[in-house]
């Protein structure tokens, strides 16, 4: 299997800082893998996510996503790259309040031609693809479609967010503690649905959380505190 994420000899330091925030010798994630990265606060989790999504740039070392070295891309090209290949799920408050459920999901296709085209290979229209995804995520109540998203429950909101990340079959899905606001039972169900859909389109899932109860559901677990050499030096 090809590698989706390759990190080698990575050093990162925020401009205002005197010590490295992140120092990773090697990390590679293969296509189709579902990886749980355990990252309690202060272990450089935020920084790692920013590096993976190409919002910040490493001081030295290699960060390569889908075989593309991030450093070689200009900032606009990185934004473009992210829009094409990555789906992102946040911790909570994932939806834009003034857009409907459908509009929130369709947003991902507005900024990426590739996602749009891939969504259209699956369904006849973006709307149908959205309905298909929501159906798979067990959110097929048609009455909800045009209601303000603020009337949805947190669990429903997170599934809408998942649909937005999944639409257009991005190669990589990054989830930043998307289940922290859900109770245990819903957490597991949410992950199952996410995995199902990710598998059906061959997406790789990188799931970052400080909560280890979920790690058994994943193919692979990585502890950021062990991975990050910079933390050890300071400790």
């Amino acid at each position: 299997m090809s590698e989706i994420i390759t990190i080698q000899n990575l050093r990162f330091r925020w401009p205002s800082s005197t010590t490295d925030t992140l120092s990773i010798n090697s990390l590679s994630i293969k296509a189709g893998e579902k990886v749980f990265i355990h990252g309690p606060s202060g272990t450089g989790k935020t920084t790692l996510l920013n590096l993976l999504s190409g919002v910040v740039e490493a001081n030295s070392g290699l960060v390569s996503i889908l075989g593309q070295e991030i450093k070689r891309l200009t900032p606009p090209a990185r934004d473009h790259f992210r829009a094409q290949h990555i789906g992102y799920i946040f911790q909570a408050f994932n939806l834009i309040p003034y857009l409907t459920m459908t509009q929130n999901i369709a947003l991902a296709c507005h900024f990426s031609k590739a996602k749009r085209q891939r969504a259209l290979t699956r369904s006849k229209s973006i709307e149908l693809e959205i309905l298909r995804l929501l159906n798979h995520l067990e959110l097929d109540d048609k009455l909800l479609l045009n209601k303000p998203v603020s009337t949805l429950s947190i669990g429903q909101q997170q599934r809408v967010a998942a649909a937005r990340a999944l639409i257009g079959q991005p190669e990589l899905i990054i989830a930043d503690e998307p289940t922290s606001a859900l109770d245990n039972e819903r957490r597991q169900r949410f992950l199952e649905l996410l995995f199902q859909e990710a598998e059906s389109c061959g997406s790789t899932v990188v799931f970052v959380s400080h909560d280890t109860t979920l790690e058994k559901l994943f193919d692979r677990n990585v502890k950021l505190s062990e991975l990050n050499q910079a933390q050890k030096v300071t400790q």
């Binding site: 935020t46 920013n50 992102y88 309040p97 947003l107 900024f111």
Partner: protein, 419 residues
Amino acid sequence: MILPGLVSKSLLNRSDTALLTIFTIGLSVALLLGVEKIRQDTRYSFTNTVSGTDLIVGARSGNLPLLLYSVFHIGNASNNISWESYQRIRKNKNIAWSIPISLGDSHRGHRVMGTNEDYFRFYRHGKNQPLNFSYGKPFNDLFDVVIGADVAQKHRYTIGKKLILSHGVGKASLSNHKDKPFVVVGILKRTGTPVDRTVHVSLQAIEALHLDWQKGYKNPIHSISAEQTLKLELEPKTITAFMVGLNSRLDVFNLQRSINLYNKEPLLAILPGATLQELWGLFSVAESALLIIAAFVVLSGLLGMLAAILSGLNERRRELAILRSVGARPRHILIMLCAESGLLTAVGIMSGIAFYYLAVIITTPFLESHFGLTLTLTGLHLNNVYMLLITQFSGIAIGLIPGIKAYRMTLNNGITIRL
């Protein structure tokens, strides 16, 4: 592109702040337009009033007072000039026509102007337009009056209506010329000048009114009835001023000089156009002050918008991060915020234009009756369009401030934002 939809939906989501911002900008824009309007229409209505008159002659005072009291009926004459001098000067071969003016009485707050039939023949206003009658004809008999359009409209006067004139000007004049009632014989068409608010009588009538008056009060012993007055041969002794039209405008300075040097009586001849320029000079300070104030009000409206957008920015960090995560670039965020302020300004300007026209329509009757200023409903002046364009661009430019802030915020925070 999805951005316009996002911007408008985002604004609708914050509709109360957005509406307030639009209202603030709208009011400030209406004020700016209003100040410009009054500036232009004052000049227009002043200039309109004296078209075709080459010289105005009165007792020696200042250029401006003479112009203001003789033509615009603002303030009072300090002195009169003798009928003799008028007769002598009007015989000058360069003079094509002249109109004597005698002021000092009023009717229900309207100035009464004594003149003669030449007024209806030679007076010009606007673009060299003569006076026209809606009803009736010029005065012929001693106790005939011709009234302006506003006088007729305000008091619903028609031909044949009997009027009592008052001594002195001012609405609450105590001494009325009750013994000599006048009758309306003509109503003039609207001119948009002080003529509309004037009651015109013959010079002889002015003389007749004051036959039994001495030094400002009525002498009860020598009371002369209206019937008796009609039989008298009345010749005016004084007039307030007179307007002059020349055969050739080239002679205007010569004639002005000779009148100013007239040795029988201290006289003053002015060129209305040049004196109006003096008036504008006087006005311009106040006008610029008003305009500057209006500009600052617009600026504060825009700053209010800036404050509203900036204060909302923190709450929208999540929104911006989501947009960023789905592939919106920092410049999209920048454009979004500039578009937001641009849209607010544009809608503000449009509502400002609406407020402005509404205000013009509503205040015109009041301004006409109280200040004699006729506002005309016209399209926006090129000047105004420039001002509005500047406002629009400032609105967009001001959006750069929250735009750049959001841009940096999205760059610094990346896409992981903690609340």
